[in-house]
Symmetry: C2
Subunit: 226 residues, 2 copies
Amino acid sequence: MPRTKTVADGDRDLRVDAERNRNRILAAARDVFAEQGLQAPMAAVARRAGVGIATLFRRFPTKDDLVTAVFADKMRTYAQVVDEALDDPDPWRGFRTCVERVCEMQAADRGFTDVLTVAFPSATAFEAERDRAVARLSELIDNAKATGRLRADFVHQDMIMVLMANSGVLAATAEAAQDTWRRLVAYLIQAFAAEAAGPLPDPATPDEVTLALLRRNAAAGDGPSD
Amino acid sequence: MPRTKTVADGDRDLRVDAERNRNRILAAARDVFAEQGLQAPMAAVARRAGVGIATLFRRFPTKDDLVTAVFADKMRTYAQVVDEALDDPDPWRGFRTCVERVCEMQAADRGFTDVLTVAFPSATAFEAERDRAVARLSELIDNAKATGRLRADFVHQDMIMVLMANSGVLAATAEAAQDTWRRLVAYLIQAFAAEAAGPLPDPATPDEVTLALLRRNAAAGDGPSD
DNA sequence: CTACAAGTGGAGTGCAACTTCCACTTGCTT
DNA sequence: AAGCAAGTGGAAGTTGCACTCCACTTGTAG
Protein backbone atom coordinates (compact mmCIF):
# COMPACT_ATOMS: atom_id res chain seq x y z
CA MET A 1 0.00 0.00 0.00
CA PRO A 2 2.09 2.87 -1.28
CA ARG A 3 -0.27 5.74 -0.61
CA THR A 4 -1.33 6.64 2.92
CA LYS A 5 -4.81 7.91 2.09
CA THR A 6 -5.74 9.19 5.52
CA VAL A 7 -7.94 12.01 4.30
CA ALA A 8 -11.34 10.63 3.51
CA ASP A 9 -13.72 13.36 2.53
CA GLY A 10 -13.20 13.98 -1.16
CA ASP A 11 -9.52 14.72 -1.37
CA ARG A 12 -7.31 11.70 -0.89
CA ASP A 13 -3.69 12.75 -1.30
CA LEU A 14 -3.02 13.60 -4.90
CA ARG A 15 0.11 13.18 -6.86
CA VAL A 16 2.22 16.32 -6.39
CA ASP A 17 1.61 17.58 -9.91
CA ALA A 18 -2.11 16.98 -9.57
CA GLU A 19 -2.19 18.90 -6.32
CA ARG A 20 -0.39 21.79 -7.99
CA ASN A 21 -2.92 21.80 -10.80
CA ARG A 22 -5.77 21.73 -8.34
CA ASN A 23 -4.46 24.86 -6.71
CA ARG A 24 -3.94 26.55 -10.04
CA ILE A 25 -7.53 25.77 -10.95
CA LEU A 26 -8.85 27.24 -7.73
CA ALA A 27 -6.80 30.40 -8.18
CA ALA A 28 -7.90 30.74 -11.79
CA ALA A 29 -11.53 30.17 -10.87
CA ARG A 30 -11.33 32.81 -8.16
CA ASP A 31 -10.06 35.33 -10.68
CA VAL A 32 -12.34 34.40 -13.53
CA PHE A 33 -15.49 34.36 -11.43
CA ALA A 34 -14.56 37.65 -9.81
CA GLU A 35 -14.08 39.28 -13.19
CA GLN A 36 -16.77 37.72 -15.32
CA GLY A 37 -19.29 36.39 -12.88
CA LEU A 38 -20.49 32.86 -12.41
CA GLN A 39 -21.67 32.45 -15.96
CA ALA A 40 -18.05 32.36 -17.10
CA PRO A 41 -17.53 29.13 -19.03
CA MET A 42 -15.56 26.33 -17.46
CA ALA A 43 -13.27 26.45 -20.47
CA ALA A 44 -12.21 29.97 -19.47
CA VAL A 45 -11.18 28.72 -16.04
CA ALA A 46 -9.24 25.84 -17.56
CA ARG A 47 -7.50 28.14 -20.01
CA ARG A 48 -6.54 30.61 -17.29
CA ALA A 49 -5.27 27.79 -15.11
CA GLY A 50 -3.24 26.42 -17.99
CA VAL A 51 -4.80 22.98 -17.79
CA GLY A 52 -7.09 20.96 -20.03
CA ILE A 53 -10.80 20.83 -19.47
CA ALA A 54 -10.66 17.19 -18.51
CA THR A 55 -8.30 18.00 -15.66
CA LEU A 56 -10.68 20.58 -14.35
CA PHE A 57 -13.62 18.19 -14.43
CA ARG A 58 -11.62 15.41 -12.86
CA ARG A 59 -10.99 17.62 -9.83
CA PHE A 60 -14.42 19.26 -9.75
CA PRO A 61 -16.94 16.93 -11.35
CA THR A 62 -19.48 19.68 -11.75
CA LYS A 63 -19.44 23.43 -12.06
CA ASP A 64 -21.32 23.75 -8.81
CA ASP A 65 -18.53 21.90 -7.07
CA LEU A 66 -16.01 24.40 -8.31
CA VAL A 67 -18.16 27.37 -7.40
CA THR A 68 -18.75 25.95 -3.96
CA ALA A 69 -15.05 25.38 -3.38
CA VAL A 70 -14.17 28.88 -4.48
CA PHE A 71 -16.81 30.59 -2.40
CA ALA A 72 -16.34 28.56 0.72
CA ASP A 73 -13.19 30.64 1.18
CA LYS A 74 -14.95 33.91 0.56
CA MET A 75 -17.68 33.05 3.01
CA ARG A 76 -15.00 32.54 5.61
CA THR A 77 -13.64 35.99 4.87
CA TYR A 78 -17.08 37.51 5.34
CA ALA A 79 -17.36 35.90 8.73
CA GLN A 80 -13.96 37.32 9.55
CA VAL A 81 -15.12 40.84 8.80
CA VAL A 82 -17.76 40.46 11.47
CA ASP A 83 -15.12 39.29 13.91
CA GLU A 84 -13.00 42.34 13.26
CA ALA A 85 -16.00 44.60 13.69
CA LEU A 86 -16.59 43.06 17.11
CA ASP A 87 -13.13 44.22 18.15
CA ASP A 88 -13.99 47.85 17.56
CA PRO A 89 -14.43 49.59 20.92
CA ASP A 90 -17.29 51.60 19.41
CA PRO A 91 -19.92 49.02 18.42
CA TRP A 92 -21.90 51.44 16.27
CA ARG A 93 -18.79 52.32 14.28
CA GLY A 94 -17.93 48.63 14.14
CA PHE A 95 -21.34 47.91 12.74
CA ARG A 96 -21.11 50.59 10.08
CA THR A 97 -17.64 49.49 9.09
CA CYS A 98 -18.86 45.94 8.86
CA VAL A 99 -21.64 46.87 6.47
CA GLU A 100 -19.28 48.90 4.34
CA ARG A 101 -16.54 46.31 4.28
CA VAL A 102 -18.86 43.52 3.32
CA CYS A 103 -20.40 45.55 0.53
CA GLU A 104 -16.98 46.55 -0.64
CA MET A 105 -15.97 42.92 -0.91
CA GLN A 106 -19.05 42.31 -2.93
CA ALA A 107 -18.22 45.18 -5.23
CA ALA A 108 -14.79 43.73 -5.82
CA ASP A 109 -16.10 40.35 -6.84
CA ARG A 110 -18.66 39.99 -9.55
CA GLY A 111 -18.89 36.33 -8.81
CA PHE A 112 -20.16 36.90 -5.34
CA THR A 113 -22.76 39.23 -6.66
CA ASP A 114 -23.97 36.47 -8.92
CA VAL A 115 -24.04 34.04 -6.07
CA LEU A 116 -26.67 36.23 -4.47
CA THR A 117 -28.55 37.36 -7.52
CA VAL A 118 -28.44 34.63 -10.03
CA ALA A 119 -27.89 31.21 -8.63
CA PHE A 120 -26.38 29.21 -5.87
CA PRO A 121 -24.99 25.72 -5.60
CA SER A 122 -25.11 23.14 -2.87
CA ALA A 123 -25.62 24.54 0.57
CA THR A 124 -23.90 22.30 3.06
CA ALA A 125 -20.37 23.63 2.62
CA PHE A 126 -21.48 27.00 3.91
CA GLU A 127 -23.78 26.18 6.73
CA ALA A 128 -21.21 26.00 9.49
CA GLU A 129 -19.61 29.25 8.44
CA ARG A 130 -22.98 30.90 8.03
CA ASP A 131 -24.18 29.92 11.49
CA ARG A 132 -21.02 31.17 13.08
CA ALA A 133 -21.28 34.45 11.21
CA VAL A 134 -24.91 34.89 12.21
CA ALA A 135 -24.05 34.34 15.86
CA ARG A 136 -21.26 36.90 15.79
CA LEU A 137 -23.35 39.31 13.79
CA SER A 138 -26.17 39.12 16.29
CA GLU A 139 -23.68 39.93 19.02
CA LEU A 140 -22.41 42.92 17.06
CA ILE A 141 -25.96 44.11 16.47
CA ASP A 142 -26.87 43.78 20.13
CA ASN A 143 -23.83 45.77 21.15
CA ALA A 144 -24.60 48.48 18.64
CA LYS A 145 -28.19 48.67 19.83
CA ALA A 146 -26.97 48.97 23.40
CA THR A 147 -25.19 52.20 22.48
CA GLY A 148 -28.51 53.60 21.35
CA ARG A 149 -27.17 54.43 17.92
CA LEU A 150 -28.52 51.42 16.02
CA ARG A 151 -32.29 51.34 15.73
CA ALA A 152 -33.95 48.73 17.92
CA ASP A 153 -35.92 47.07 15.15
CA PHE A 154 -32.86 46.14 13.11
CA VAL A 155 -32.53 42.37 12.68
CA HIS A 156 -29.66 40.33 11.38
CA GLN A 157 -31.69 39.34 8.34
CA ASP A 158 -31.42 42.96 7.29
CA MET A 159 -27.74 42.43 6.64
CA ILE A 160 -28.56 39.86 3.98
CA MET A 161 -31.11 42.25 2.60
CA VAL A 162 -28.34 44.81 2.26
CA LEU A 163 -26.24 42.32 0.35
CA MET A 164 -29.10 41.53 -1.97
CA ALA A 165 -29.81 45.18 -2.62
CA ASN A 166 -26.15 45.93 -3.14
CA SER A 167 -26.01 43.01 -5.48
CA GLY A 168 -28.67 44.55 -7.68
CA VAL A 169 -26.90 47.89 -7.83
CA LEU A 170 -23.58 46.27 -8.61
CA ALA A 171 -25.02 44.10 -11.35
CA ALA A 172 -26.64 47.08 -13.00
CA THR A 173 -23.63 49.36 -12.65
CA ALA A 174 -20.95 46.97 -13.77
CA GLU A 175 -20.26 49.07 -16.84
CA ALA A 176 -21.06 52.60 -15.74
CA ALA A 177 -21.74 54.56 -12.57
CA GLN A 178 -19.68 52.01 -10.72
CA ASP A 179 -19.60 53.85 -7.41
CA THR A 180 -23.34 54.00 -7.04
CA TRP A 181 -23.22 51.23 -4.47
CA ARG A 182 -21.39 53.50 -2.06
CA ARG A 183 -24.27 55.92 -2.11
CA LEU A 184 -26.77 53.15 -1.52
CA VAL A 185 -24.80 51.87 1.43
CA ALA A 186 -24.51 55.36 2.88
CA TYR A 187 -28.25 55.83 2.61
CA LEU A 188 -28.91 52.49 4.24
CA ILE A 189 -26.56 53.07 7.12
CA GLN A 190 -28.28 56.36 7.79
CA ALA A 191 -31.58 54.53 7.74
CA PHE A 192 -30.22 52.09 10.30
CA ALA A 193 -29.40 54.89 12.72
CA ALA A 194 -31.76 55.15 15.66
CA GLU A 195 -32.60 58.79 14.87
CA ALA A 196 -34.06 57.78 11.51
CA ALA A 197 -36.29 55.10 12.96
CA GLY A 198 -39.85 54.99 11.71
CA PRO A 199 -42.24 52.07 11.33
CA LEU A 200 -41.10 49.14 9.19
CA PRO A 201 -42.78 46.08 7.73
CA ASP A 202 -41.91 42.92 9.62
CA PRO A 203 -38.76 41.18 8.47
CA ALA A 204 -38.81 37.68 7.04
CA THR A 205 -37.81 34.90 9.39
CA PRO A 206 -34.13 33.89 9.40
CA ASP A 207 -35.07 30.60 7.78
CA GLU A 208 -36.85 32.27 4.92
CA VAL A 209 -33.86 34.47 4.29
CA THR A 210 -31.47 31.54 4.32
CA LEU A 211 -33.70 29.79 1.86
CA ALA A 212 -33.75 32.82 -0.38
CA LEU A 213 -30.01 33.05 -0.11
CA LEU A 214 -29.35 29.47 -1.14
CA ARG A 215 -32.27 28.28 -3.19
CA ARG A 216 -32.66 30.18 -6.36
CA ASN A 217 -31.68 27.80 -9.12
CA ALA A 218 -33.00 24.72 -7.39
CA ALA A 219 -36.37 25.66 -8.85
CA ALA A 220 -34.97 25.68 -12.38
CA GLY A 221 -37.12 22.66 -13.16
CA ASP A 222 -40.48 24.21 -12.32
CA GLY A 223 -42.58 23.55 -15.36
CA PRO A 224 -43.57 26.63 -17.33
CA SER A 225 -45.97 24.12 -18.92
CA ASP A 226 -47.71 26.51 -21.26
CA MET B 1 -51.95 50.87 -54.60
CA PRO B 2 -54.07 48.52 -52.51
CA ARG B 3 -52.54 49.08 -49.13
CA THR B 4 -52.46 52.53 -47.55
CA LYS B 5 -49.14 52.08 -45.77
CA THR B 6 -49.07 55.38 -43.97
CA VAL B 7 -47.25 54.10 -40.96
CA ALA B 8 -43.57 54.07 -41.72
CA ASP B 9 -41.58 53.12 -38.68
CA GLY B 10 -41.47 49.33 -38.55
CA ASP B 11 -45.12 48.39 -38.72
CA ARG B 12 -46.73 48.89 -42.08
CA ASP B 13 -50.34 47.78 -41.93
CA LEU B 14 -50.54 44.05 -41.54
CA ARG B 15 -53.15 41.69 -42.76
CA VAL B 16 -55.89 41.46 -40.14
CA ASP B 17 -54.97 37.95 -39.06
CA ALA B 18 -51.34 38.94 -38.80
CA GLU B 19 -52.22 41.93 -36.69
CA ARG B 20 -54.24 39.71 -34.41
CA ASN B 21 -51.33 37.35 -34.02
CA ARG B 22 -48.99 40.21 -33.31
CA ASN B 23 -51.20 41.30 -30.45
CA ARG B 24 -51.46 37.79 -29.14
CA ILE B 25 -47.71 37.53 -29.16
CA LEU B 26 -47.29 40.77 -27.25
CA ALA B 27 -49.84 39.73 -24.66
CA ALA B 28 -48.23 36.33 -24.29
CA ALA B 29 -44.78 37.87 -24.00
CA ARG B 30 -45.98 40.26 -21.32
CA ASP B 31 -47.29 37.36 -19.28
CA VAL B 32 -44.41 35.01 -19.84
CA PHE B 33 -41.72 37.59 -19.10
CA ALA B 34 -43.55 38.76 -16.02
CA GLU B 35 -43.78 35.23 -14.70
CA GLN B 36 -40.50 33.68 -15.75
CA GLY B 37 -38.22 36.61 -16.38
CA LEU B 38 -36.45 37.55 -19.55
CA GLN B 39 -34.63 34.27 -19.86
CA ALA B 40 -37.91 32.57 -20.76
CA PRO B 41 -37.42 30.87 -24.13
CA MET B 42 -39.03 32.34 -27.22
CA ALA B 43 -40.71 29.01 -27.75
CA ALA B 44 -42.64 29.52 -24.52
CA VAL B 45 -43.95 32.84 -25.77
CA ALA B 46 -44.96 31.30 -29.09
CA ARG B 47 -46.67 28.42 -27.35
CA ARG B 48 -48.59 30.72 -25.02
CA ALA B 49 -49.60 32.91 -27.93
CA GLY B 50 -50.78 29.88 -29.85
CA VAL B 51 -48.60 30.63 -32.86
CA GLY B 52 -45.61 28.98 -34.46
CA ILE B 53 -42.09 30.11 -33.75
CA ALA B 54 -41.63 31.42 -37.26
CA THR B 55 -44.57 33.76 -36.84
CA LEU B 56 -43.02 35.17 -33.74
CA PHE B 57 -39.69 35.78 -35.43
CA ARG B 58 -41.32 37.27 -38.50
CA ARG B 59 -42.88 39.97 -36.28
CA PHE B 60 -39.93 40.40 -33.94
CA PRO B 61 -36.76 39.41 -35.77
CA THR B 62 -34.81 39.12 -32.57
CA LYS B 63 -35.58 38.48 -28.94
CA ASP B 64 -34.39 41.94 -28.07
CA ASP B 65 -37.00 43.39 -30.38
CA LEU B 66 -39.72 41.56 -28.54
CA VAL B 67 -38.41 42.54 -25.15
CA THR B 68 -38.17 46.15 -26.24
CA ALA B 69 -41.71 46.18 -27.55
CA VAL B 70 -43.08 44.67 -24.37
CA PHE B 71 -41.27 47.00 -22.04
CA ALA B 72 -41.90 50.16 -23.96
CA ASP B 73 -45.42 49.89 -22.56
CA LYS B 74 -44.24 49.31 -19.05
CA MET B 75 -41.93 52.27 -19.21
CA ARG B 76 -44.90 54.39 -20.11
CA THR B 77 -46.72 53.12 -17.03
CA TYR B 78 -43.79 54.05 -14.85
CA ALA B 79 -43.84 57.57 -16.19
CA GLN B 80 -47.54 57.66 -15.39
CA VAL B 81 -46.91 56.83 -11.76
CA VAL B 82 -44.78 59.94 -11.51
CA ASP B 83 -47.58 61.98 -13.04
CA GLU B 84 -50.04 60.72 -10.47
CA ALA B 85 -47.61 61.48 -7.68
CA LEU B 86 -47.42 65.07 -8.89
CA ASP B 87 -51.14 65.38 -8.33
CA ASP B 88 -50.83 64.67 -4.66
CA PRO B 89 -51.32 67.90 -2.70
CA ASP B 90 -48.63 66.74 -0.27
CA PRO B 91 -45.46 66.44 -2.36
CA TRP B 92 -43.57 64.48 0.27
CA ARG B 93 -46.35 61.92 0.48
CA GLY B 94 -46.54 61.93 -3.31
CA PHE B 95 -42.85 61.20 -3.46
CA ARG B 96 -43.04 58.33 -1.02
CA THR B 97 -46.04 56.85 -2.76
CA CYS B 98 -44.21 57.11 -6.04
CA VAL B 99 -41.23 55.16 -4.74
CA GLU B 100 -43.49 52.52 -3.26
CA ARG B 101 -45.67 52.19 -6.33
CA VAL B 102 -42.75 51.87 -8.69
CA CYS B 103 -41.11 49.24 -6.55
CA GLU B 104 -44.39 47.42 -6.26
CA MET B 105 -44.70 47.28 -10.02
CA GLN B 106 -41.24 45.87 -10.16
CA ALA B 107 -42.13 43.24 -7.62
CA ALA B 108 -45.09 42.20 -9.71
CA ASP B 109 -43.06 41.70 -12.84
CA ARG B 110 -40.07 39.47 -12.83
CA GLY B 111 -39.27 40.55 -16.34
CA PHE B 112 -38.75 44.14 -15.36
CA THR B 113 -36.44 43.06 -12.61
CA ASP B 114 -34.37 41.25 -15.20
CA VAL B 115 -34.32 44.25 -17.43
CA LEU B 116 -32.48 46.09 -14.70
CA THR B 117 -30.36 43.30 -13.38
CA VAL B 118 -29.49 41.06 -16.22
CA ALA B 119 -29.60 42.66 -19.60
CA PHE B 120 -31.16 45.30 -21.72
CA PRO B 121 -31.90 45.65 -25.39
CA SER B 122 -31.82 48.59 -27.77
CA ALA B 123 -32.30 51.93 -26.14
CA THR B 124 -34.02 54.28 -28.56
CA ALA B 125 -37.57 53.10 -27.94
CA PHE B 126 -37.36 54.31 -24.38
CA GLU B 127 -35.56 57.56 -24.63
CA ALA B 128 -38.52 59.83 -25.16
CA GLU B 129 -40.46 58.24 -22.33
CA ARG B 130 -37.44 58.30 -20.10
CA ASP B 131 -36.74 61.98 -20.65
CA ARG B 132 -40.32 62.88 -19.94
CA ALA B 133 -40.29 60.80 -16.77
CA VAL B 134 -37.05 62.40 -15.60
CA ALA B 135 -38.47 65.87 -16.09
CA ARG B 136 -41.60 65.09 -14.10
CA LEU B 137 -39.61 63.28 -11.47
CA SER B 138 -37.32 66.26 -11.02
CA GLU B 139 -40.35 68.41 -10.53
CA LEU B 140 -41.73 66.03 -7.94
CA ILE B 141 -38.40 65.97 -6.15
CA ASP B 142 -38.13 69.75 -6.12
CA ASN B 143 -41.60 70.06 -4.68
CA ALA B 144 -40.86 67.50 -2.01
CA LYS B 145 -37.63 69.26 -1.11
CA ALA B 146 -39.53 72.55 -0.84
CA THR B 147 -41.64 71.08 1.93
CA GLY B 148 -38.46 70.44 3.86
CA ARG B 149 -39.27 66.75 4.26
CA LEU B 150 -37.09 65.37 1.47
CA ARG B 151 -33.38 65.74 2.06
CA ALA B 152 -31.73 68.38 -0.09
CA ASP B 153 -29.02 66.13 -1.48
CA PHE B 154 -31.45 63.68 -3.06
CA VAL B 155 -31.06 63.54 -6.83
CA HIS B 156 -33.26 61.91 -9.42
CA GLN B 157 -30.56 59.35 -10.19
CA ASP B 158 -31.24 57.99 -6.73
CA MET B 159 -34.59 56.74 -7.97
CA ILE B 160 -32.87 54.49 -10.47
CA MET B 161 -30.56 53.38 -7.71
CA VAL B 162 -33.63 52.36 -5.73
CA LEU B 163 -34.88 50.32 -8.66
CA MET B 164 -31.54 48.61 -9.00
CA ALA B 165 -31.37 47.79 -5.33
CA ASN B 166 -34.94 46.59 -5.29
CA SER B 167 -34.15 44.50 -8.30
CA GLY B 168 -31.43 42.68 -6.41
CA VAL B 169 -33.69 41.95 -3.48
CA LEU B 170 -36.48 40.76 -5.71
CA ALA B 171 -34.21 38.50 -7.72
CA ALA B 172 -32.86 36.91 -4.58
CA THR B 173 -36.21 36.54 -2.86
CA ALA B 174 -38.19 35.18 -5.78
CA GLU B 175 -38.66 31.87 -3.99
CA ALA B 176 -38.70 32.79 -0.33
CA ALA B 177 -38.99 35.86 1.88
CA GLN B 178 -40.86 37.54 -0.91
CA ASP B 179 -41.86 40.61 1.07
CA THR B 180 -38.33 41.61 1.91
CA TRP B 181 -38.45 44.35 -0.70
CA ARG B 182 -41.06 46.21 1.33
CA ARG B 183 -38.68 46.46 4.23
CA LEU B 184 -35.89 47.70 1.99
CA VAL B 185 -38.12 50.37 0.51
CA ALA B 186 -39.26 51.46 3.96
CA TYR B 187 -35.66 51.80 5.09
CA LEU B 188 -34.74 53.77 2.01
CA ILE B 189 -37.65 56.16 2.29
CA GLN B 190 -36.68 56.84 5.88
CA ALA B 191 -33.16 57.51 4.67
CA PHE B 192 -34.52 59.99 2.16
CA ALA B 193 -36.25 61.99 4.87
CA ALA B 194 -34.55 65.26 5.71
CA GLU B 195 -34.21 64.33 9.38
CA ALA B 196 -32.03 61.36 8.51
CA ALA B 197 -29.65 63.39 6.36
CA GLY B 198 -25.96 62.80 6.86
CA PRO B 199 -23.07 63.06 4.42
CA LEU B 200 -23.28 61.00 1.22
CA PRO B 201 -20.87 60.12 -1.55
CA ASP B 202 -21.52 62.08 -4.73
CA PRO B 203 -24.05 60.54 -7.06
CA ALA B 204 -23.14 59.44 -10.57
CA THR B 205 -24.07 61.81 -13.37
CA PRO B 206 -27.44 61.26 -15.02
CA ASP B 207 -25.69 60.10 -18.18
CA GLU B 208 -23.74 57.47 -16.35
CA VAL B 209 -26.87 56.16 -14.76
CA THR B 210 -28.70 56.02 -18.07
CA LEU B 211 -25.78 54.14 -19.51
CA ALA B 212 -25.83 51.72 -16.63
CA LEU B 213 -29.55 51.29 -17.06
CA LEU B 214 -29.39 50.46 -20.73
CA ARG B 215 -25.97 49.09 -21.46
CA ARG B 216 -25.34 45.91 -19.69
CA ASN B 217 -25.31 43.25 -22.37
CA ALA B 218 -23.89 45.48 -25.07
CA ALA B 219 -20.52 44.63 -23.59
CA ALA B 220 -21.13 40.92 -24.04
CA GLY B 221 -18.35 40.86 -26.62
CA ASP B 222 -15.62 42.19 -24.36
CA GLY B 223 -12.88 39.64 -24.70
CA PRO B 224 -11.99 37.66 -21.63
CA SER B 225 -8.91 37.00 -23.77
CA ASP B 226 -6.99 34.66 -21.49
C1' DC C 1 15.65 1.47 -15.33
C1' DT C 2 11.06 -0.28 -15.86
C1' DA C 3 6.30 -0.72 -15.35
C1' DC C 4 1.94 0.94 -14.31
C1' DA C 5 -1.54 3.52 -12.14
C1' DA C 6 -2.56 8.19 -11.83
C1' DG C 7 -2.93 12.11 -14.41
C1' DT C 8 -3.62 14.78 -18.70
C1' DG C 9 -5.45 17.33 -22.89
C1' DG C 10 -8.39 18.01 -26.52
C1' DA C 11 -11.81 16.10 -29.50
C1' DG C 12 -16.48 14.61 -29.09
C1' DT C 13 -21.51 14.37 -27.12
C1' DG C 14 -25.84 16.14 -25.55
C1' DC C 15 -28.73 19.71 -24.76
C1' DA C 16 -31.07 23.93 -24.77
C1' DA C 17 -31.57 28.10 -26.64
C1' DC C 18 -32.04 31.54 -30.78
C1' DT C 19 -32.77 31.98 -35.47
C1' DT C 20 -33.62 30.58 -40.51
C1' DC C 21 -35.77 27.84 -44.37
C1' DC C 22 -39.36 26.17 -47.00
C1' DA C 23 -43.39 23.80 -48.40
C1' DC C 24 -48.08 24.84 -47.36
C1' DT C 25 -52.36 27.97 -46.29
C1' DT C 26 -55.16 32.07 -46.41
C1' DG C 27 -56.93 36.80 -46.71
C1' DC C 28 -57.56 40.20 -50.09
C1' DT C 29 -58.01 42.13 -54.84
C1' DT C 30 -60.24 41.82 -59.32
C1' DA D 1 -64.13 32.34 -58.40
C1' DA D 2 -59.11 32.70 -59.03
C1' DG D 3 -54.52 34.10 -58.22
C1' DC D 4 -50.95 35.56 -55.53
C1' DA D 5 -48.48 37.99 -52.07
C1' DA D 6 -48.56 37.79 -47.30
C1' DG D 7 -48.64 34.84 -43.68
C1' DT D 8 -47.86 30.36 -41.30
C1' DG D 9 -45.83 26.25 -38.65
C1' DG D 10 -42.49 23.16 -37.63
C1' DA D 11 -38.27 21.12 -38.91
C1' DA D 12 -33.73 22.05 -39.56
C1' DG D 13 -29.20 25.01 -38.74
C1' DT D 14 -26.20 27.29 -35.44
C1' DT D 15 -24.03 28.43 -31.32
C1' DG D 16 -22.50 28.07 -26.60
C1' DC D 17 -22.04 25.58 -23.04
C1' DA D 18 -21.44 21.56 -19.40
C1' DC D 19 -19.63 17.40 -19.31
C1' DT D 20 -17.31 12.56 -21.18
C1' DC D 21 -13.99 9.50 -23.65
C1' DC D 22 -9.73 7.84 -24.80
C1' DA D 23 -5.12 7.59 -26.49
C1' DC D 24 -1.05 9.52 -24.59
C1' DT D 25 2.34 11.22 -20.77
C1' DT D 26 4.44 11.21 -16.23
C1' DG D 27 5.47 10.63 -11.31
C1' DT D 28 6.86 7.09 -8.39
C1' DA D 29 7.63 2.36 -6.33
C1' DG D 30 10.65 -1.53 -6.63
